[in-house]
C-alpha cells in the first residue's frame, strides 16, 4: 500500500473489502509518522497504544457488523478535548491537562468507529498563522521543510500533506483551517457557524470558532463533515445542517455564477498566487461556470474588526487558566494576586499575552464603545456585503492566502505582516459563512489554495461546486517528502 495514494475513502474501501485490517492501516500511518514526523513535527502526542487497541477491537468485529467508517484513522488538533488524553492547545499553561470529558465531535468520531491516532501541533490557543506560536515545537511544511505550514491548524494540515493521517480535524477562527490547508496543498473546510458543535473545543473566540475537516480531497471533506455536523444540546449556538451531507458528484458548473472578490486581489496578493488563481478561474469557465468580479467594500475592514472581537472574547475565554483548578500553577507565589500573575506570565506565550492585553483593553470601560461596539457594527456591515453579493452570485471566490508558505521566522517579529495572512479568510468567520480551500496549483513548487465561500448552510452546494472545480483542475502533485519517503 502506498500511503500517499490513500484518501479516507480508500481506507474505508480497503477495510470493507478485507484487503487491509484496521490494525494494518493504523500501523501504516504510525510507520509514516515514525518515518517523517521528526522532520515535519505535526504530532504533539501519538497514542500508539490506544490506536492499536481501538484497531484491534474493530478487527475483532465481523465486517458485516461494522459501521461504514469504522477503523479509519484520524488525528486531532490539540484543542479538541479527549477524555483522559493530554490536551494542551500547545500551551505551557495546559501541560499535563487531561480533560474529564470528550468533545462532542470526538464522541461523534468514536460513535462512527474512527481510530484516534493522536494530537496535532498548533499555534498556542489557535492564535497565529504559522504554528510558530506553539510552545512545544515547530511544524514544517511538507512541501518545503524550511517553511511554515500555516496556522493555527498547522499540524492538522501538515499531517495530511505528509500522509501521517488520511484526514484530520482542525478549528477555524479567522482562517485557521483554510490558510494552512492552502499552504500545505490539502483541502480545508470551515462550516457555517453553528453547523458543528463547539462543545469540547477549547475556545479562542467563541463567536467565530468552528471545527472542520482537513482532507486530501473534497469528497473526504464532505464525508468527514457529515460525521461531525449536527445540533448539540450541549452547545446552544449549534444548529446543525439542514440535511445529511452526501458525497459530491457534480462535475459541470453550468448555471453557477462565481463572484471574484476584487478586494482580495490587491497588492497584498503575490503575483504567483494571482497566476494560480487566474488558472482556477479559467478552469471554472471551462467547466461552464460564470465568473464576475465584484466588490465587498466592507471586507477590507474585516482584519481590524477581527483583531478587536477575537482578542476581546479570548481575553475572557482564557481567564479561566488561573492556576486554581487545573493546568500550570506557579510555585512560590506570595499571595493570590501574585499566584495569578506568575501562573499566567509563565504559562502563556508572547502572542497569547499580546491578544489578552488587546482584548482586555478594548473591553475596558471608556474604550468599549470605540472599539468593541464599532467592531460589531463592522461585522454587521460585512455580513450585509455578503448578503448583497449572494443576491447576485452563487459563490464567492478568492485566493485563500495572499501568499504561499513563508519561511520559518520570516514574520515572527512582525505581527502585522503575520496578521495579513488571514486577510482573505477572516470575513467568512465574521459573517459565519461556510468556506472551503482547495488546492489550485503550485507557485514555484509551493501550493496555492482557492477559497470558495457560500451562503449560510449551503455546505452541500459548496462541496459540489468545489468538487467540480477540483475535477476540472485535475491536480496530482505530491509534496517532495512523498518522494523522499519512497
Amino acid at each position: 500500500m502506498e500511503v500517499f495514494s490513500l484518501t479516507a475513502r480508500a481506507c474505508r474501501d480497503l477495510l470493507g473489502s478485507g484487503e487491509a485490517s484496521a490494525t494494518e492501516l493504523v500501523d501504516l500511518y504510525l510507520d509514516q509518522v515514525e518515518r517523517v514526523d521528526d522532520r515535519v513535527g505535526a504530532f504533539l502526542l501519538v497514542d500508539r497504544e490506544g490506536a492499536l487497541a481501538q484497531a484491534a477491537a474493530v478487527d475483532a468485529k465481523p465486517r458485516a457488523e461494522r459501521l461504514p467508517w469504522e477503523g479509519v484513522p484520524i488525528a486531532l488538533k490539540d484543542l479538541l478535548c479527549v477524555e483522559g488524553m493530554e490536551t494542551t492547545c500547545a500551551s505551557r499553561i495546559l501541560k499535563g491537562y487531561r480533560p474529564p470529558y470528550d468533545a462532542t465531535v470526538v464522541a461523534k468520531l468514536r460513535a462512527a468507529g474512527l481510530v484516534l491516532l493522536g494530537k496535532l501541533n498548533m499555534d498556542e490557543f489557535a492564535m497565529g498563522s504559522s504554528t510558530e506560536n506553539s510552545s512545544v515545537q515547530l511544524t514544517h511544511n511538507p512541501w518545503d521543510l524550511e517553511r511554515v505550514p500555516g496556522g493555527s491548524s498547522g499540524g492538522s494540515a501538515a499531517c495530511v500533506a505528509a500522509a501521517e493521517a488520511p484526514w484530520s480535524l482542525g478549528s477555524d477562527t479567522g482562517g485557521s483551517i483554510r490558510q494552512p490547508a492552502s499552504l500545505c496543498g490539502v483541502v480545508g473546510m470551515k462550516p457555517t457557524y453553528g453547523a458543528v458543535s463547539r462543545y469540547g473545543l477549547i475556545a479562542f473566540a467563541s463567536s467565530l470558532d468552528q471545527i472542520g475537516p482537513l482532507t486530501r480531497d473534497v469528497s473526504d471533506a464532505a464525508a468527514l463533515l457529515d460525521i461531525i455536523a449536527g445540533k448539540d444540546p450541549m452547545d446552544s449556538t449549534s444548529v446543525g445542517l439542514p440535511a445529511p451531507i452526501a458525497l459530491p458528484t457534480r462535475t459541470d458548473l453550468t448555471g453557477l455564477r462565481f463572484g471574484v472578490i476584487r478586494e482580495f486581489l490587491g497588492e497584498a496578493c503575490e503575483p504567483g498566487v494571482r497566476r494560480v488563481f487566474d488558472g482556477a478561474v479559467a478552469a471554472i469557465h471551462a467547466a461552464g461556470g460564470v465568473c464576475d468580479e465584484l466588490q465587498l467594500p466592507s471586507v477590507e475592514k474585516g482584519l481590524a474588526a477581527y483583531y478587536i472581537i477575537a482578542p476581546a472574547e479570548a481575553s475572557s475565554n482564557l481567564a479561566r487558566f488561573d492556576g486554581v483548578r487545573f493546568g500550570h500553577r506557579s510555585e512560590g507565589a506570595s499571595d493570590l494576586i501574585d499566584m495569578y500573575s506568575r501562573t499566567r506570565s509563565e504559562g502563556f506565550g508572547e502572542e497569547v499575552k499580546r491578544r489578552i492585553m488587546i482584548g482586555t483593553y478594548v473591553l475596558s470601560s471608556g474604550y468599549y464603545d470605540a472599539y468593541y461596539t464599532q467592531a460589531q457594527k463592522t461585522r454587521t456591515l460585512i455580513a450585509d456585503d455578503f448578503r448583497r453579493a449572494f443576491g447576485q452570485v452563487d459563490y464567492l471566490i478568492s485566493p485563500t492566502s495572499p501568499t504561499v508558505a513563508f519561511r520559518i521566522g520570516e514574520r515572527t517579529q512582525d505581527p502585522l505582516a503575520m496578521y495579513l495572512s488571514d486577510l482573505c479568510t477572516i470575513p467568512a468567520n465574521l459573517a459565519g459563512l461556510p468556506a472551503i480551500s482547495i488546492p489550485a496549483g503550485l507557485s514555484d513548487g509551493l501550493p496555492v489554495g482557492l477559497q470558495i465561500v457560500g451562503p449560510h448552510f449551503s455546505e452541500q452546494g459548496l462541496l459540489e461546486a468545489a468538487y467540480a472545480v477540483e475535477q476540472g483542475l485535475g491536480l496530482s502533485d505530491l509534496p517532495p517528502i512523498a518522494e523522499a519517503a519512497r
Partner: protein, 502 residues
Amino acid sequence: MSGGMPPRSSMPGAGDGASGEWEVVIGLEIHVQLSTNTKMFCSCPVTFGEEPNTMVCPVCLGHPGTLPVANERAVEYATRIALALGCRIAEHTVFHRKNYFYPDLPKSYQISQFDLPLGLGGRLDVELDDGSLFPVGVTRVHMEEDAGKLVHAGGATGRIHGADYSLVDFNRGGTPLVEVVSEPDMRTPEQARAYLTQLKGLLEHLGVSDVNMEEGSLRCDANVSVRRPGAPLGVKTELKNMNSFRYVQRGLEAEIERQISALEDGETIVQATVHFDPVTGSITTLRSKEEAHDYRYFPEPDLVPIEIDEAYVERVRASVPELPAARRQRFVADYGLPAGDAGILAANRPLGDYFERVAELSGDARLSANWVTGDLSAHLNSTGVGVHESAVTPEALAGLLALLGDGTLSSKLAKDVFQVMLETGRDARAIVDERGLGQISDVVELEGIIAAIVEANPGPTEEFRQGREKVLSFFVGQVMKQTKGQANPKLLNELLRKHLAG
C-alpha cells in the same frame, strides 16, 4: 415587621445630626437562589450541605471547552418574579459576561445580565403596620449564576488575605440566581427591612426559592447615602452580604450613623464597599481602590439571546400564584375576615393555604382564621416549625372546630385539647373520648344533677324565685363543681332556670 414604620416625612434617629436634618437614601440589591432542580447552565443538582465538590461537572467547574446551556425552568422562575414585581418583560434579553478573577469563580467570569435584563421597571407595594402602602420601585430583575464558596484556613481575618490557605467548594457554583435591584426609594433602615420582609414573603409565595437568609438562598446588599433634604444624592457606600433581617437593619443604622458623623465632622464620604460586623456592631471600610473593578461586560457569545413572546409571558403569568395583596382582599371579601387576620394569612402562602383548607372543612372561616392566626401561629412561632410540618393537619384542626361547634367542647377545653393534639399528633375526638373531656350535654344527666342541687339548697332557690337573678351563678358554680366543669354552659343555664322556676 416590628417596631412600626414611621411616616416618610419624619425620620427619628437615623436622620438627625447636630447640624440639622439629614435625609437617608437606601436602595437594596437582593440575590435570590432559585429552587430549580438543576443549576443555571449545567445539569448538576442544586443542593445545600452536601460533601464539598461532589455536585459538580466539567461545565460548572469551568473546564476548557465546556459551554453553558441556559436552564429553561430558571428563566421561567425569573420571569415569574419579574411579573410578580410588575416588571416589563424584555422581548429580547441577553446574557453578559462579568469578568473578574477570584478563586470561587471557575471561569473567571460570571454569566450575568447587563444592559438587556429580563425585567425592567417594576414596583413592590410594601405594606406598613397601619395597612397603608409604601411603594418601592424595582429598577430591574436579572438572571445570573452563583459562585462557589471559599473556606479560609488559618489567619485572623477570616478573609483570603492573611489566611494560611483557602479551599473552594464548587457545589454552589452555577446555582441559578435572580437579582432584584430596587430604586433608592427607602428612607429608613426600618423601611428597608419592611421591603425585604415583604419581598421574601412574595418570593416564598411564588414558590421559586427557599428564601433562607442563614443558608444564603436570600442575600442582601444595600446602597446607602445621606444628604440634606432636597439636595442631590450623596456619595453612596455598598453594605455587603448581610445574612439576616436584623443585620440588615443594624448594619444600615451603623453605616448611616458613620456617614452622618463623618459629614458632621467635615469629612467626605468615599464610594466604597463596607462590611458590618454583627458581633462588634462596627463598620469596616474597604478602600475603594482595592475594590475598583472594571468588569469588562460584553455579550456572552456562548449563549443565544432569549426571545420572549407574548404567549410565553401569558403562560408564566397564569402560573403565578395569587399574590399576597390580592389574596388579602379576597380573604376580606369572601370570608369576611378582619383586615389584620387577612393580612397575616395572605402574607404567608403556606399559612394561607392551611387556613383555606380548614375554613372549607369546618365551614366557619372566621373561627378558622382565629385559630390559625392565634393558637396555631403562636405554636409555630415558638417552635420555629413550618406550617407544612405542623403536627396538626388542617383536617385535624377542622375536626377540633367541629367539636367546638356542636358544643362538645368549650373554648377553654378546646384549647387544652389543641395542646394535646400538637404534642401527640392525635385527633381531637380520640383525645376527648379517652380523657372524658366532652361537655355534658345530656339533658337527663344534667337534670338529675340539677334536681339534687336545687333540693339541697332551698334557701337560694327561694331567693331566686323572689327575683334575685344573681343567685343563678351560685347554682352554676355548684353544678360545674360537681361535673368538673364539663357541663354545657348554655344547656345548664336553660335547665337551671326551668328547675328553679319550679
